[in-house]
């Protein structure tokens, strides 16, 4: 109970892992490309959550171990990952539109032009 009420870094990490798993399940099982892309966003967010949580953890550490108030590398990485997510979404949706125009479908298992 004590550990339930006292929110530590581990809580955030577990939350991140759960999100990651949800994302993985979505990517592996859904047919709709849009939802697959959204699941990828979930995965990226799970990673971000871990990064920010660990960055917070490092801020509490002493400067000697590379921590301290200025140790915001995790947050900076999270920002980079958000940038990546934007790029990924833009390109992914662009591909999706091109694909939809050609095949009139958004199902991943019908993306089989390379499978001969």
């Amino acid at each position: 109970m004590e550990s339930m009420l006292h929110i530590s870094t581990l809580h955030y990490l577990v939350l991140g892992a759960a999100l990651f798993l949800l994302g993985v399940v979505g990517v592996l099982t859904r047919r709709n490309v849009i939802i697959v892309l959204m699941s990828i966003e979930l995965i990226l967010n799970a990673v971000n959550l871990n990064l920010v949580a660990l960055s917070h953890y490092w801020q509490g550490m002493s400067v000697r171990f590379g921590g301290g108030p200025g140790a915001l590398h995790g947050q900076v990485f999270a920002i980079f990952i958000i940038t990546d997510a934007a790029a990924e979404a833009a390109v992914g949706l662009g591909i999706l539109i091109a694909f939809f125009r050609n095949k009139e479908t958004v199902n991943v298992d019908e993306v089989n032009l390379l499978k001969w």
Partner: protein, 173 residues
């Protein structure tokens, strides 16, 4: 004084995120999925605020909820979804996928139960006060700006992505 409501808000936001995530991967209608994802993302920005990372939270709201998800909604509306909604929603290897994910989950559980001690609680001494300025120092500071180059690379990546998206979406260039 440690924030009194921390566990409450943590569990509230975490539950929102988890439920949102489940809805994302189970809804038939892509618009509903997108709305669930938006909710999850907003809850996550709340979590960032709890982790004293307000700048990341702001970026999360502006870029994810306000930018990327609008793009998603735009595309969903652009392509007709009626047909997709009537079709099978899960692919043939869904069982294998779930088993693989479950295995990964098992790994996570193992790691987190075994390695719990590796993560003692962080000491929450650092206020949000100068978070933006500190992040900016890491990104652009004259002495501490170790991510300046990466930042430029990221901007290049975005440029490439813009061009790529336009090339993909346009019928004829």
């Amino acid at each position: 004084m440690a924030p009194v409501a921390t566990p409450f808000f943590f569990y509230l936001l975490a539950a929102t995120m988890i439920i949102g995530g489940i809805l994302v991967i189970t809804r038939k209608n892509a618009v509903h999925s997108a709305m669930a994802l938006i909710t999850a993302l907003l809850a996550q920005s709340g979590i960032y605020l709890m982790l004293y990372a307000p700048f990341v939270a702001g970026v999360q709201i502006i870029l994810y909820a306000g930018g990327i998800m609008v793009l998603f909604l735009f595309v969903i509306m652009l392509i007709s979804i009626e047909r997709t909604m009537k079709e099978r929603q899960f692919n043939h290897q869904w069982l294998i996928g779930i088993v693989a994910a479950a295995a990964l989950g098992g790994l996570f559980i193992a790691v987190y139960t075994r390695g719990k001690t590796l993560f003692p609680e962080g000491r929450l001494t650092y206020a949000e006060g100068q978070n933006t300025q500190a992040v900016a120092d890491l990104l652009y500071g004259p002495h501490t700006g170790m991510y300046m180059f990466s930042f430029e690379i990221a901007s290049l990546l975005l440029l490439v992505a813009i061009i790529g998206a336009v090339v993909m979406a346009k019928k004829r260039i």
